[in-house]
């Protein structure tokens, strides 16, 4: 394993992290980033790397619900905090509405920015259930995508927000949610 300590240039430390609701004890060099720990030590490769500098947003995870760039976070800083990655977004094997909307509405092309984009979108919808177009743009401006031109991502987030809201209303009324597909806006 890459984190094996026998030649690590910096001393290894015992770390305790909570990811996707599970607790992990790991031993790793202290200069390893949270991104590296997630990908290499915990096998959570859904979180990607794109720039190593905190610019592209590809490595976004949620820490206590807030979007953070895992390439700039050291695990020692987040011991005792709740980390959520793309792998933890589906509940009970059922994809999150955001995931369904991204898949259905063309919001993922190459798919590489998608996990980070998704985590930022989740944080947005958790804090603002009815974001306007401008609010979505503003919130996601730190996540770069080179494929889509962002517009289908915008539609997917908007669509997921509406579905989450209506399923919440349905749940309040005791109904089961119904899946609908949004129009594409093509002439």
């Amino acid at each position: 394993m890459k984190h094996s300590t026998f030649q690590a240039p910096l001393p290894a430390e015992r770390l305790h992290v909570r990811v996707n609701g599970e607790s992990y004890e790991i031993v790793a060099p202290v200069n390893k980033t949270l991104l590296e720990i997630l990908r290499e030590d915990l096998g959570l490769t859904g979180t990607k790397h794109g720039c190593e500098l905190g610019e592209c947003g590809t490595c976004t995870v949620l820490i206590d619900g807030d979007p953070m760039l895992s390439c700039l976070v050291l695990p020692v800083e987040v011991q005792g905090h709740e980390i959520l990655t793309i792998e933890g977004l589906a509940e009970g094997g059922r994809p999150h509405e955001l995931q369904v909307a991204f898949a259905e509405l063309g919001a993922a092309q190459c798919g590489y920015c998608t996990p980070g984009m998704m985590m930022s979108s989740k944080a947005l919808l958790d804090s603002n259930s009815h974001p306007t177009t401008e609010e979505i743009k503003e919130y996601l401006a730190g996540n770069l995508c080179r494929c889509t031109g962002y517009l289908q991502i915008l539609e997917a987030v908007d669509s997921a927000a509406k579905k989450l809201h209506s399923s919440q209303q349905d749940a309040d009324r005791g109904n089961t949610p119904e899946s609908t597909t949004q129009g594409t806006g093509i002439r």
Binding site: P9, L53, E55, P95, G111, T114, K137
Partner: protein
């Protein structure tokens, strides 16, 4: 014209890999590990041009955890994607040609150790004279200072002088001649996934390479040549590509080095580039300096075009010879041009090598030509939309440089965007600081010729039906985000009458899948689509025969067409005179009947484009089975205080032939617009003494959500006679009209011509300052090389009203009456 309705084709169904990508389950090259895997790192040159005097790896070798180190001497075979410019070593042997040029590769037990080892390597250099600009590249240098020892002279890599038709008579016949120079800057693809490869050399002497590549076939070929292993013992598997845009189309040093390090250690080796290394590996947009001289009649009709390109190639050949030809190939496929001269030069410079980026060599000349035509229209007092429509090529015609044009919906594209944007009322009528601009473009649906010329298929699809009703489709094509997996599944599902979810894909593996040349030149939908149709139709024929026997339908009635079978929605239905009789078989039942009758149900379909080459050297670049066409209107606002140009909205119409999946097609249009906007406004590779000024995403700025305007997309369906279900490309073409449409809109807004990309606030302010002084506000290249061109090769044109019969042989897939 009404199009045939299909049950799967033309539907905006979710992409087949969508949910895997949305859940983080797609496994990219850097995501997987193998037991005992080592990590590799490359050491790149610190000098832009130097002889390597010595490489001392002793300290690195002594470090615990370092398992192997290779230098150029370990891999002394040159390679290059084009056979005409095999000028790269995986690790340079005696000379480095740009900052970042790989010299040493290290494998160690972990990434940190490998990094430490690379830092401990000492390289001694002897600097050589450098060349960083096109003008420097053209200057005379001593024989020992040349960047390469091939090419016509000095640092010139390639020169081209082609003349089609009678240029002098063309200019003599002109009422006016318009002459101007333009510059299009270079940029990186900046795919979010950095290049990555994992190599495993087994005890059985077989090598497997997993790599983020757009061209597993060419990587396979290059590995065999460089490593001197028979290709039969090498397996290349392309992993899902996290963005390509042309940037992962060459074989790369890290791929060879991972393989070599694995051979030396007997352990798997992974090498993933850092973002900085991606900027050095580059292969991005060529900076091109261009001159356009256009002769026109007073009504605007073109009498002659004389086009010159000076292409800044960077340090190696890559696709550059093709890129240079591409800067001259497609000007003729949009407008009637009776006489045409193209002269092009590619120079080597001590910078990261350029290569193919979305549009490959064609966005640069398209920008120049479309801004130039805007000037002509203005000077002649003709509306730019009406002007373009008056000089369009005809459908089914030949161009002066022997390009075969088939379906062409460009006129309709222009109508859609001008109507949608209300262009005719807005142009010249918006308040100062706001403007609209129009431009068009055209691109290939796949290169007509393969990189290594041969008569073999460009693509093949194997199909197999399982007794459970699942269909497996195999093809070497790789989905780089463009949606080719979905095209394959949808095509097979359509023909067999099942759903895309019942089609399982095995792709991009040189061991298990039949040939596909790769995800480049927008070739996959057109070529693989046709191969998939052929394979699926073969299987469907067997299913129909078995069902006909079971349902006692006479062969004669079927062949005469009075009765027929149709496959849709998992059923094979019997019809008489187009009306269902109630007799039918489920797909699964049909599979069992057919397998009982014929044995294992397998088939292969292939596609080879028609021979479309013209009778001259260089004619292999430009021909394609079908051109796509696009038109765009841009609306911009220009802040006269700050010089900032804001794109407010874009209207883009694209002749796609047929949209196989409209939602994915729209994604390609919007992504093309986005990528173009980055090039127009901010993305520029800038260097200081050969040092990349900002090889990081911190400083290399790209558009975010906030910079992306809204885009109105129109899919124009011309139902191409040879395309699968009538389809043509959409991945690259829509980028082409965007830069000139923006530049023309800036002119409409402030009356200034920015003839040099990127359009920065500084350039806009410089133009406005000229305007204040009463001078014509133009910012662009102020010098143009006076080059000693070789003798022109003169080629007789094919008169475009009379295309040779055999060149318009059509293989209409869609048998509906149009």
């Amino acid at each position: 014209m009404s199009l045939t309705k299909y049950s799967v084709i033309g539907q905006s169904v979710p992409r087949v890999d969508g949910i895997r990508k949305a859940t983080g389950q797609s496994v990219y090259a850097d995501d997987f590990t193998l037991p005992r895997m080592l990590y590799g790192k490359l050491l790149g040159s610190r000098r832009p041009h130097a002889r390597i005097l010595s490489i001392d790896t002793s300290k690195a070798k002594a470090m615990p955890g370092v398992k192997a180190i290779v230098t150029g001497e370990d891999l002394p075979v040159k390679y290059g994607i084009l056979p005409v410019s095999e000028d790269e070593y995986p690790l340079e042997v005696d000379r480095v040609r740009f900052v970042g040029d790989p010299i040493v590769a290290v494998a160690a037990v972990d990434e940190m150790t490998a990094e430490e080892a690379v830092r401990a390597i000492e390289v001694k250099y002897e600097d050589l004279p450098t060349s960083f600009e096109i003008s420097e590249g053209l200057a005379a240098v001593g024989e020992t200072s040349r960047i390469h020892d091939y090419g016509p002279h000095d640092n010139v890599h390639k020169q081209i002088n082609l003349e089609f038709g009678d240029l002098d008579s063309g200019f003599d016949a002109a009422d006016q001649v318009f002459d101007n120079t333009y510059f299009y800057s270079g940029s990186n693809h900046l795919a979010l996934e950095q290049h990555s490869a994992v190599a495993q050399y087994g005890a059985d002497s077989k090598l497997t390479l997993w790599s983020s590549t757009q061209t597993p076939h060419y990587v396979h070929k290059a590995l065999a040549s460089v490593l001197k292993i028979p290709a039969s013992r090498i397996r290349v598997i392309a992993t899902p590509v996290g963005g390509g845009f042309g940037g992962k189309s060459d074989p790369f040093p890290h791929e060879f080095c991972a393989a070599k390090l694995s051979m030396l250690t007997g352990r798997p080796v992974k090498i993933t580039l850092t973002r900085e290394e991606v900027f050095y590996a580059h292969r991005g947009r060529h900076p091109v300096l261009m001159n356009v001289k256009l002769g026109v009649k007073n009504d605007g009709s073109i009498t002659a075009l004389d086009f010159q390109s000076f292409v800044d190639g960077g340090a190696y050949g890559s696709y550059g010879v093709a890129s240079t030809y591409y800067t001259g190939a497609l000007q003729t496929v949009t407008y009637k041009i009776p006489a045409y001269r193209f002269r092009g030069v590619r120079v080597f410079t001590n910078k990261p090598p350029c290569g193919p980026k979305r549009g490959h060599g064609t966005p640069q000349p398209r920008y120049a030509l479309e801004v130039h035509l805007d000037r002509v229209a203005n000077a002649l007092g003709i509306d730019p939309a009406a002007y373009r429509k008056s000089i369009l090529v005809d459908e089914y015609s030949m161009t002066v440089n022997h390009m075969r044009v088939t379906s062409c919906g460009l006129g309709e594209c222009i109508e859609k965007v001008t109507e949608g944007s209300d262009f005719n009322s807005l142009r010249g009528a918006l308040p100062v600081g706001k403007g609209v601009g129009l431009a068009v473009g055209s691109y290939l649906s796949g290169a007509g010729l393969p990189i290594y010329w041969n008569k073999m298929p460009h693509t093949s699809v194997d199909l197999k039906i399982d007794r459970g009703g699942g269909v497996t489709a195999k093809c070497m094509q790789i989905d780089i985000g463009q949606g080719s997996d979905s095209v394959l599944a949808m095509t097979v599902a359509e023909i067999l009458g099942i759903t895309p979810a019942d089609v399982n894909l095995i792709c991009a593996d040189t061991d298990t899948t039949p040939i596909d040349l790769g995800a480049y030149s927008s070739r996959v939908t057109f070529m693989m689509g046709n191969a998939a149709i052929e394979a699926a139709e073969k299987l469907r024929k067997k299913l129909f025969e078995a069902v006909a026997e079971e349902l006692h339908i006479s062969e004669r009635a079927l062949s005469e067409g009075t009765e027929s079978l149709q496959s849709a929605a998992g059923q094979i239905v019997h019809m008489v005179n187009g009306v269902p009789t109630g007799k039918s078989s489920s797909f699964l039942r049909a599979v069992k009947l057919a397998e009982s009758k014929f044995g294992q149900l397998s088939s292969t379909g292939s596609f080879t484009p028609q021979a479309l080459r013209g009778p001259y050297k260089g004619s292999g670049v430009g021909p394609t089975p079908a051109y796509s066409y696009s038109a765009a209107v841009a609306k911009v606002s220009v802040d006269r205080e700050t010089g900032i140009v804001t794109p407010e909205k874009l209207w883009v119409a694209h002749d796609i032939g047929r949209a196989i999946n409209p939602i994915l097609a729209r994604g390609q249009i919007e992504g093309s617009v986005y990528m173009a906007l980055g090039e127009i406004f901010m993305e520029e590779q800038a260097f200081r003494k050969g040092q990349h000024q900002f090889p990081s995403m911190l400083d290399y700025k790209t558009p975010t959500f906030l910079e992306m305007p809204s885009v109105e997309s129109y899919l124009i369906e011309t139902n191409d006679a040879e395309g699968p279900f009538g389809a043509k490309e959409v991945g690259q073409g829509p980028l082409l009209p965007i830069p000139p449409a923006i530049a023309n809109a800036v002119y409409d807004a402030i009356g200034a011509r920015i003839d040099e990309l990127p359009i920065t606030p500084e350039k806009v302010l410089a133009a406005l300052a000229l305007q204040e002084k009463g001078k014509f506000p133009q910012v662009g290249p102020n010098k143009f090389p006076d080059y000693q061109w070789p003798t022109p090769v003169k080629i007789d044109p094919v008169w475009y009203d009379q295309p040779p019969e055999q060149w318009v042989e059509t293989r209409r897939r869609d048998r509906s009456k149009c």
